[in-house]
Every structure is written in structure tokens, then in C-alpha cells.
Amino acid sequence: MRGRASRVTVIAAAVTVVMASVTSCSSSFGMPRGSTEQGEEIFDLWQIFFWAGIAVAVLVYGLIAWSLIRYRRRRRESDADLGLQFHANVPLEIIYTAIPVVIVIVLFTLSFGTEDRASSVSPTPDVVLRAEAFSWGWRFGFPDEGVEVVSEPSAEGVPGPEILLPLGRTTRIELTSNDVVHAFWVADFLYKRDAIPGRVNVFDVTPTEMGTYHGVCSEFCGIHHAYMTFTVRVVDQSEFDTWIARGAAAA
């Protein structure tokens, strides 16, 4: 009895340590919190998936660990000793099929709703940004304001172009490519879209936090792909207006 009690204590302590170390980490597990309205939607969804994942991992790893410890072959036993020879348990099998079905239905429904909100496009955006990717750089145009920012050819040590977006305003991004497939990704916005030659992809970003955000090309596009970066700086409306009025030149 004492042996079993101490074993239970050890297991309980181990579980506590693991749970504590997991929860003490940021609950985002390193995922940026999303600096746009669309990104915040996706971040909320991430948290649900993350905790569902932790729950499944704890359950399955727990069952595996229990099997490995409890049912290990003891010293006095030999190859000739057999385990219990049961083959199946139909009610149990139905239950462990049904539970994942319920989990994925819930996750899919949540994910469907989030995609609807994060990818919905406003009919009346405040700013329109035409982003054209090329090998290897970006041409960012504001057609309503008649200004444009164009990359220098990307290479090691050459910083990518910088654009400003106004805080709290909805910017519609019209994305395309004029040669191969590229992709526009700002990790802090939790959003990327492919830039495909011959097609225009449209999505909205509504920044909710001032800051400087790193953007990359995330679809492999050839030799200088690694250097095809850009910067998005989210500023207030007046600074954005000044920048546009100066012809989008660097401050």
C-alpha cells in the first residue's frame, strides 16, 4: 500500500509540474497577439485550438505513459508470459470514434466563423493599397492618393520598402504579382495571401496597434527570396496624411 501511495504522489507531482510549466508560458505559445481586427479574430481562434491541443496531448500522453509504466514486463516475467488476450470492445470503440467527431465538428464550426469575419471585405474601405510583388521586391501604390513606393532590388543588406498604414482605419489590400507566385505575410497581422500572376487577391486589414511590423514574401520565388522583405508602420491618421502628402517618401 505504501509503495502505491508514494507512486501516486510522484505521478501527481509530475503532472502538477508539467501543468504549471505549461500554463506559466504565455497562453499564446509564442503566437503574436494580432495587431489588426482581423488578426485578433484569428488569435482568439488560435487560443481555442492551442488549449484543445494541450488537452488532447495530456490525455493521450497520459494514457501512453500509464500503459508503459503499469503494463511493463516485470523482472520475474519472461517472453512466455502473455498479456490479457482481449481483441476488441465495440462500445468503447464507438465512444472513442464519436468523441473526436464531436471535437472536430466544434473546431470546424468555430474556424468557419472566424474565417468569415477575418476575410470579409468592406465595401467602403478608408484606404486602398495596391500591392504588386515582383522578383524580388514590392510595388506599393495608393491609387486614390496617387502615390507609390517601389522596392530597390532586394539583396543581402538592402532593407525592403516601408509603407505606413493609418491606425483604426480599414485598408483594402489588392494583391497581385507580375511574374511568379509570391506571398504577402505580416506575422503580427496573423495573415498572409498569395500574390498570383494574372489574379488579384483582395483582403482588408484594420490595424489596432501602433508599431513597426516586419513583412516577408512567404512563397518561394527564386534566388533572392530571403531578402524580399518589407516594413509596415502603423501610425495615426495625421502622420499618415503627412506621409502621403510628401509623396510617401521616407521620413
Partner: protein, 532 residues
């Protein structure tokens, strides 16, 4: 060279595939060395781009898939009690198509005039078209892949025919060993998935050499069509890469638990469900293109998590109430479970289209993929090597070395790939030769590169084990593990025609029944068995 014996061909497949594994691993080592620090130090951008392109193609098409074919070749006739495959000469031809195709792929990468192929393993046009990838390299690669694809179809036809027509009396489909079941489903997937890919490759070749413009928007073509055709291969392909190794660990776990597989019927149904669903999920690779019906492909992808989850319960239920002995094949099988679960959970995250908007083409995705393919399939391959080596060669590999190989690989693998989840969430895209400092990417990349060293040490130690065991030749006997399926009821190595006599087949584990007639359920042992 001219053999048509399925056992010799199986071993040739496995040895050739493992050689490609060492080459592909060396390429990965070069990439990890480059990424250990910011800046571009060791290899130039063009060479780096060739490294990841060729690494991907080698590991997927020339290592994991053909290793599965090799195992199938070696094991299917033995497990069903047949003297050979149904079409032995087609089998040999399939091997030589694979070897020749593999050579062409290597040539395309290292011996072409305009440098190596640098398009990423999925060869997206227009980047892979004549304007952006001139030179003969991509053409050789396409031809090599076409040969490999044809060889896959040949071996698929052979595995299916052999299993359906050449089973021993009493070996009904519901007594078929799980490994054989899994490679049959794999073979069917190969027949479904490879023809469209060959079509895509041929059209790409037209574009490159005959001004075809099927995929070039400037000529009225559409690069998205290529993506559909390619992923119609690409997604079933990852199940082609995992199903045989689901089969492997489902052979080893019962043997080392001294128990029958828990839920055999459910397991087979889950395998069939995975096979069927895997043909309907391809466009989840295209969520960010903005031109596919994301919710449909997302729902299909979520659904495939269910049969995969069922398998975990099959494996746990098999260990439950067992007498587990932790021999090396069992250790690698447990490693498979531990790693693959992470791959499965992150796979469900990637199945969600909005999460994929963040995770696609990032290091998070790279890590997810390696948790399934390296942590899963490759651990399954090592389980298979340690499990069936004594059967194939008649002597044992070392337990002591094997435990060290396993420990190094498990630690090294997780050290390499866990940090890649973190760095992916922090915004690091895949396929970059260099990254700027100050983005929080440095430390995880360094850890990952150190982990790759540990992982490589494990693989090298395995080679040492193979050579020293070969010299020591500790005799294996016919059945060193107390095996369940028919291959353990013949000699090690088996004679040319496999069996001089067959035991009666009354369940899915005839070799076990032979040793424990008192435990066989079903009709009394005196009844003569009707032919299947």
C-alpha cells in the same frame, strides 16, 4: 542484377532508399549549418535553394516512399504465405525504374549546366517554367520523377494483385496482417494519385520545351491548375509515406505487448477511411491562394483526424493489460507515437483555414511536416529495420547500440524541430537562406542546428551497429521476438520459395496460434480448412 526474387528486390529497394536518406540528410545538415546563425556564410543563395529542393524530393520520392515499397516487397508474400509476388519481372522492372529515376534526379541537381534545380520540391510554375528556370536541370528532374511515378504504379499493381489473388488457404481479408492491409491501401492511393501528377509534369515539360503555356499566365495559362494537379498527388502522397509505417508499428506493438491488436476491424476501417478521405483534402495546401473553397477542404481535412485518432486508441488499447518489453523495435514504435501525436495536433491547427493564413509556408508548417514524416515515418522505418533485420539476414542487430541510436534520434529530432514551431509562429518563412537579427529567430535556429548534430550522430551510430553486427553475426533463430504473422513461421532468412510448409491460418496471427493452440478461438482445430 537480374534477380526477380521479391526478397532480394525488397532488400535492394530498402538499401537504395536508405542510401538516398543519407544523401538527403547530408543536404539537410548543410542547411542547418547555414541557418545556425544570421547572415549568409556557407553556401550561396542559389546553392541553398538547390539544397532544400533536392532534400525534399529525395526524402519524399526516393527515400520514404520506396522504403515502404521495399518493405512491402519483402513482407507481403511472406505475410500472406505466397512464394513470390504475382508479377516478379514487373517487380524487378519497377526497381530499376526507381533506381534510374533516382539517378536522373541526382544528375539534375548536381550536374546541370545552369546550376542545380532551385524551385522547391513542388515545382510551382511560373517559377519552374522556361523563363525563370532555364537549363536542363528541371527537365531531367521531371523525367526522373516520371520514372519514379511509373515505378510506383508498377509496384502498386503488383502489391494489390498479389494480396487479392495469392493468399494462402485460410488467409481471408479479415485475417490479413495489418502491415499488408496498410500497404494495399497505400498501393491503391499510388494508383489514384500518381497519374494526375505525371500529367502535370508532362504539361510542365511542354511549357518548358515546346512553348506549351499551359501554366503561364502570359500565354493564357493558369498556374493554379498546376497547383491542383500537383496537390492531388501531393496530399495522398503523404499518406503513401505514412500508411506503411502505421502498418509497421501496428505489427510491432502487439508483439512486444504479448497481446493481439486491440480493435483489428476498427483499425482496418480507419485505414480505409484515411485512404478514401486523403483524395479529397488536397486543396488545403492552397488556402492562401484565395481561389479554392476553403470550408470544404478544411472540413475534409478535419475529418481525417478522426480515423487517425482511432488508431491512437488502437495502439494504446493494445498496450493496455499487456506485458510490455522494451526491445529496440518497440522503442522506435513508442517514439513514433510520441512524435506523431504532435504532428497530428498541429495538423488539426493547419486544417483550420484562418489559422493556416498565419501558419502556411512558415517554419511551423516545416516542423509539423517533419513531426509526421521524420518523427513518424522515419521512426517507423527504424522500427522496421530493427524488427525484420534478423528475419532478412539471420542475425541480430545489437540491443545496446539500438537503444543508443533511439535515444540520440529521439532527443536530436525533438531538439531540431521543436524550436521550429516557435520560430514559425514568430514569423519565419520557410525556404530562406538568411534571416535578419533582432526578430527573435536566432536562438531557436541555433538550438535546431545543434539538435540536427545529435540526430545525425544517432543515424551514424546505426551504421556502426549495422557493420559491427554483421561481423558479430549473433544468430537470430527463426523467430527471435515471438512474432505473430506468417513470416516468423519460416526460417531466417527464408528459403527461395519462402515456405516448405504452412501452419493452419485461423486468425490474423497464425505464428502465434501455432505456439498457443489452446488460445485459438473459432471452429475446432480438426475441421479441414476450406480454401480462401
Amino acid at each position: 542484377m537480374t534477380t526477380t526474387d521479391h526478397k532480394k528486390l525488397g532488400i535492394m529497394y530498402c538499401v537504395t532508399a536508405f542510401t538516398f536518406f543519407l544523401i538527403g540528410g547530408a543536404l539537410a545538415g548543410a542547411m542547418r549549418a547555414e541557418l545556425a546563425d544570421t547572415g549568409s556564410q556557407l553556401v550561396g543563395a542559389q546553392s541553398y535553394n538547390t539544397l532544400f529542393t533536392v532534400h525534399g524530393i529525395i526524402m519524399i520520392f526516393l527515400f520514404v516512399a520506396p522504403f515502404g515499397v521495399g518493405l512491402a516487397n519483402y513482407l507481403v508474400p511472406l505475410q500472406i504465405g505466397a512464394p513470390d509476388m504475382a508479377f516478379p519481372r514487373l517487380n524487378a522492372m519497377g526497381y530499376w525504374f526507381f533506381a534510374g529515376g533516382g539517378l536522373l534526379v541526382l544528375l539534375s541537381s548536381f550536374a546541370s549546366d545552369a546550376g542545380g534545380v532551385a524551385t522547391g520540391w513542388y515545382l510551382y510554375p511560373p517559377l519552374s517554367g522556361p523563363r525563370y528556370s532555364p537549363g536542363v536541370g528541371p527537365d531531367l528532374l521531371i523525367l526522373g520523377l516520371a520514372l519514379v511515378a511509373i515505378s510506383t504504379v508498377m509496384s502498386g499493381v503488383n502489391v494489390i494483385t498479389t494480396t487479392f489473388l495469392m493468399r494462402a488457404p485460410g488467409m481471408t481479408m479479415w485475417r490479413l496482417p495489418v502491415f499488408t492491409w496498410n500497404v494495399v491501401v497505400t498501393a491503391i492511393l499510388g494508383l489514384v494519385a500518381f497519374p494526375p501528377a505525371v500529367a502535370a509534369f508532362v504539361l510542365l515539360l511542354f511549357d518548358r520545351r515546346l512553348a506549351g503555356q499551359a501554366f503561364d499566365p502570359l500565354g493564357g495559362g493558369d498556374p493554379i491548375v498546376y497547383q491542383h494537379l500537383f496537390w492531388f498527388l501531393g496530399h495522398p502522397e503523404v499518406y503513401i509515406l505514412i500508411l506503411p509505417f502505421f502498418g509497421v508499428i501496428t505489427e510491432t506493438i502487439p508483439v512486444f505487448s504479448r497481446k493481439p491488436l486491440f480493435g483489428y476491424t476498427g483499425f482496418i476501417l480507419a485505414t480505409l477511411a484515411i485512404g478514401a478521405l486523403s483524395t479529397g483534402v488536397w486543396a488545403h495546401h492552397m488556402f492562401t491562394t484565395g481561389v479554392v473553397d476553403n470550408p470544404f477542404f478544411s472540413a475534409m481535412t478535419f475529418t481525417i483526424a478522426v480515423p487517425t485518432g482511432v488508431k491512437f486508441f488502437n495502439w494504446i488499447g493494445t498496450m493496455w493489460g499487456g506485458k510490455l518489453s522494451f526491445r529496440v523495435p518497440m522503442l522506435f514504435s513508442i517514439g513514433f507515437l510520441l512524435n506523431f501525436l504532435i504532428g497530428g495536433i498541429t495538423g488539426v491547427m493547419l486544417a483550420s483555414a484562418p489559422l493556416d493564413f498565419q501558419l502556411a509556408d512558415s517554419y511551423f508548417l516545416v516542423s509539423h511536416f517533419h513531426y509526421t514524416m521524420m518523427g513518424g515515418s522515419v521512426f517507423g522505418i527504424f522500427a522496421a529495420i530493427y524488427f525484420w533485420w534478423p528475419k532478412a539476414f539471420g542475425y541480430m542487430l545489437s540491443e545496446r547500440f539500438g537503444r543508443a541510436v533511439f535515444a540520440l534520434m529521439l532527443v536530436g529530432f525533438n531538439l531540431t524541430f521543436w524550436p521550429q514551431f516557435v520560430v514559425g509562429l514568430r514569423g519565419m518563412p520557410r525556404r530562406i537562406v538568411d534571416y535578419a537579427p533582432g526578430l527573435g529567430w536566432d536562438t531557436p535556429n541555433l538550438v535546431s542546428s545543434l539538435g540536427a548534430l545529435v540526430l545525425s550522430a544517432g543515424v551514424l551510430l546505426f551504421l556502426v551497429d549495422a557493420f559491427t553486427s554483421r561481423r558479430r553475426r549473433t544468430p537470430a533463430g527463426d523467430d527471435p521476438w515471438g512474432g505473430f504473422s506468417l513470416e516468423w513461421a519460416t526460417t531466417s532468412p527464408p528459403p527461395e520459395h519462402n515456405f516448405s510448409s504452412l501452419p493452419r491460418i485461423r486468425s490474423e496471427r497464425p505464428a502465434f496460434d501455432m505456439r498457443h493452440p489452446e488460445l485459438v478461438s473459432g471452429p475446432p482445430a480438426t475441421a479441414s480448412e476450406p480454401p480462401a
